[in-house]
């Protein structure tokens, strides 16, 4: 287990892509949550800001998930097969959410009000698509979290290996647990928290900014509650993760950093240092994802599939690493350009 080989590097790349998906794609889902929960005198402006923030970038942000999937099936094929078999149901439901969220958002953006009609049948249809977009934005992160929870809980054994091969035992029980649901909920509130914090930076109207500041502060509180709930359930239900999370190597330092980032985000929001809050919130969520990864290292799917055991032949790993470098040379300048074009000028204080 010593030293970093190509397998560990690819696993690290998968973790990086997953982190990017959570920070960027996750916030787009969070935007949908606030679209659903829009209320108050500036309800319409809230929705407009969310649509404006997500519009140009959600598809690019979504591709991180595809990168994760592709790297997984190329470099850790047995892991991909295991997840696809045992998590068939939540993954299929998540895909329905992904399809509905993306299409409904696109239908509303390109054929809704602001494109010639403010009232009448067009506006009604558009409100309808808005509801589909928003509901799918709530359901999808929960399902993603449930899948992550099932992996963390070490519940995804090879089908038929556990002896009792019933349908429920193999295809439902591993993920439909209180711990799994708590991770689903945690994912949802984290995404909503990220979105609210990002939107404080993107809002130009001070009143609108205050709306999202309050939402971000409430979400931060809910994150604390749900996170401790999930941790408690993990101690009770899934000993291996609980141990890794509380006593594993570097775990304490990581937890202290996560807590510090969380407090920094709240403090920055409180004193209206929105750019700092965005940085702290992103750091907090990143550390949570990395904490999970560290807790189950060297396992990709506990209790039996480790990075080394599940890795594809070395030649595939090495070629993929080169492909990642080459792809990154095209991708990162493009992404920076995208964000510079759309996220620069209306940055807040």
């Amino acid at each position: 287990m010593t030293g970093l080989g190509p397998a560990e590097l690819v696993a690290g790349a998968i973790l990086a892509a997953l982190t990017a998906y959570v920070l960027l794609g996750g916030a787009d889902f969070g935007g949908g949550v606030w679209d659903l929960l829009a209320f108050g005198p500036r309800k319409r402006q809230q929705r407009a800001l969310i649509a404006e923030a997500i519009g140009p970038i959600w598809e690019a942000n979504h591709v991180w998930l595809i990168i994760v999937v592709v790297l997984l099936f190329t470099c850790f094929p047995s892991v991909f097969a295991r997840l696809a078999i045992t998590l068939h149901i939540p993954l299929a439901l998540m895909l329905i959410g992904i399809v509905l969220r993306g299409s409904a958002f696109s239908f509303r953006s390109h054929y809704g009000p602001g494109h010639g009609e403010e009232t009448g049948p067009g506006a009604r249809t558009s409100a309808h698509w808005g509801r589909v977009f928003a509901s799918a934005s709530v359901g999808t992160p929960v399902l993603l979290g449930i899948c992550a929870g099932a992996v963390a809980a070490g519940a995804l054994r090879a089908p038929g290996a556990s002896g009792s091969g019933g349908f429920v035992a193999t295809f439902v029980a591993p993920w439909l647990t209180p711990f799994g649901l708590s991770v689903g909920l945690l994912t949802l509130v984290l995404f909503a928290f990220l979105a609210a914090v990002y939107l404080t930076v993107e809002a130009r109207d001070p009143a609108l900014r205050e709306d999202f500041r309050r939402r971000a502060l409430v979400a931060a509180g809910v994150v604390f509650l749900v996170a401790f709930g999930a941790l408690g359930l993990s101690l009770r239900e899934v000993p291996p993760v609980g141990r890794g999370l509380t006593t594993g190597p570097g775990a304490v330092a990581l937890h202290v950093s996560t807590g510090a980032a969380a407090l920094a985000a709240i403090a920055a929001l409180w004193w209206r240092r929105f750019r700092l809050a965005r940085l702290a919130a992103a750091a907090q969520v990143t550390l949570i994802v990395w904490g999970w990864a560290l807790a189950q290292y060297p396992y990709l799917v506990p209790p039996d599939l480790t990075i080394r055991d599940a890795a594809a032949p070395r030649i595939t790993l090495v070629l993929i690493l080169w492909a990642l470098v080459a792809g990154g040379l095209v991708l990162f300048p493009s992404l920076v350009y995208l964000l510079r074009v759309f996220k620069r000028e209306h940055a807040g204080p």
């Binding site: 979504h62 190329t74 991909f80 329905i96 070629l319 493009s334």
Partner: protein, 438 residues
């Protein structure tokens, strides 16, 4: 419904749905940048309006393509985990490269759609080109992966698993060149001709509307050359199949007994039980000539292969006939239209040509679906030709009819919505008097 059939149906339905949006994601960006370029060169604002409208159409079609493509990347595992477990390390490379191409396409489509007021004209047009090129590259990489399933290389299969894996050799599969070119041309031909057909219809109703006139000209420039070249590439592809997948060739030609100087069957119904094809028009020596450039060449028939290795002959043969018939018609109409354009004739004077273009509008997509059936159903019962059977690859999860029905309902609904939105957009085409245009 047996699980294997449900899984195959779900995969076929998902691919059949996605392929339309993927093709439009390759073809439409080219239309939109060509219109924008004409606007920048001539200052004619009708072209700008066209670029805007085509961009808007591209936006929703690309979004549906992106999410349905995501579904497919998961379905590879949800339905065929054993396939992916073995094929992933061999053929994951082009999928990864496709991921980056798709990323680039998504980034620059965002820049293109939302950046009209934010970046310079040149940067905007360049973003459009980046979308068009990366869309084409996505197709290149994905079709390479599919070609490998037809002509697998880059590994040795020993005791039920792959050894000596060489992902680069796998990408160099001999099936790739013709299959890739055939697919990319299909995207340009289908997209170009469907748009051409829509505006030809507009011109039949309003012959003086300069909006439709300009749209038709740009669409034909994208669609018609591709449609003319397509039969030539298709012919190359069939010849390759004749050598690498003789069972598939026999099935698509409904060719039962092995024969020297084999005839070409046009139409007809293959009777699998009797081992013969009835009611077909036979062109003597046609098949030997087309497949092997020699009228007396021996063409292996289905009867020379074990029954268990046959694909469903009737489906494959029928799909092949549909593809060839409609594809030939598209090529013919395109050739005439190009000839008229070359001679600088006013296409709107030829109402018969406009009617023919309306008729060809949906044909590209029908052809592509048929062609996809030929290559995918024609490979059955194998998921990796000669190496792994589809039945060995399917997930152990029972009750697969449920996801099949759910995703079918989802896609049917989505397809209807997209069709309705695009219909609304076309119905609101502006009227541009000829005088302004000139």
């Amino acid at each position: 419904m047996p699980d294997l059939l449900a899984a195959r149906s779900q995969m076929a339905m998902s691919l059949g749905f996605h392929i339309i949006f993927a093709m439009v994601g390759i073809g439409m960006p080219l239309l939109m940048v060509m219109a924008e370029r004409r606007w920048q060169r001539t200052g004619d604002r009708v072209y700008l309006e066209l670029a805007h409208r085509w961009g808007k159409g591209t936006a929703i079609l690309f979004a549906v393509g992106a999410v349905s493509g995501t579904v497919l990347s998961f379905e590879l595992g949800l339905l065929w985990p054993t396939f992916m477990e073995h094929a992933g390390p061999i053929i994951g490379m082009p999928f990864s490269l496709e991921g980056f191409a798709f990323f680039t396409e998504a980034v620059f489509l965002g820049v293109y759609l939302y950046g009209w007021e934010r970046i310079s004209r040149r940067a905007h047009l360049a973003a459009g080109w980046a979308v068009a090129v990366s869309g084409m590259l996505s197709a290149l990489f994905v079709v390479i992966a599919n070609a490998w399933m037809n002509a697998p290389t880059g590994f040795r299969w020993v005791d039920g698993r792959a050894v000596d894996i060489d992902p680069i050799a796998a990408m160099m599969t001999a099936a790739a060149p013709t299959q890739v070119v055939h697919m990319i041309l299909a995207a340009y031909a289908s997209t170009g001709l469907v748009v051409a057909g829509i505006h030809a219809g507009g011109l039949l109703r309003q012959p003086r509307n300069g909006f439709h006139r300009r749209a038709l000209a740009v669409a034909l420039l994208v669609g018609a050359p591709a449609a003319v070249l397509q039969p030539l590439v298709g012919d190359q592809s069939a010849r390759f199949v004749a050598r690498s997948q003789p069972v598939k060739l026999a099935a698509l030609e409904a060719h039962f007994p092995t024969q020297r100087g084999a005839p070409l069957h046009i139409g007809g119904w293959p009777d699998e039980a009797a081992g013969e094809t009835r009611w077909a028009i036979e062109i003597p020596y046609g098949l030997s000539l087309l497949a092997f450039e020699d009228p007396h060449a021996e063409v292996k028939g289905l009867l020379d292969f074990p029954r268990g290795d046959w694909p469903p002959v009737a489906i494959v043969h029928l799909a092949f006939q549909v593809m060839v018939a409609l594809g030939s018609f598209m090529a013919l109409v395109s050739l005439v239209a190009l000839w008229q354009m070359w001679r600088r004739r006013d296409l709107t004077r030829h109402r018969w040509l406009l009617r023919a273009l309306v008729l060809t509008a949906p044909m590209g997509f029908i052809c592509t679906e048929a062609g996809w059936v030929v290559t995918e159903v024609g490979r059955q019962p194998w998921i990796i030709q000669g190496v792994m059977r589809t039945a060995q690859a399917v997930t152990p999860m029972p009750g697969l009819v449920v996801p099949f029905l759910v995703f079918t309902a989802l896609y049917v609904g989505l397809g209807l919505v997209v069709a309705w939105l695009l219909y609304q957009q076309v119905a609101r085409s502006p009227k541009v008097a000829e005088e302004d245009a000139a």
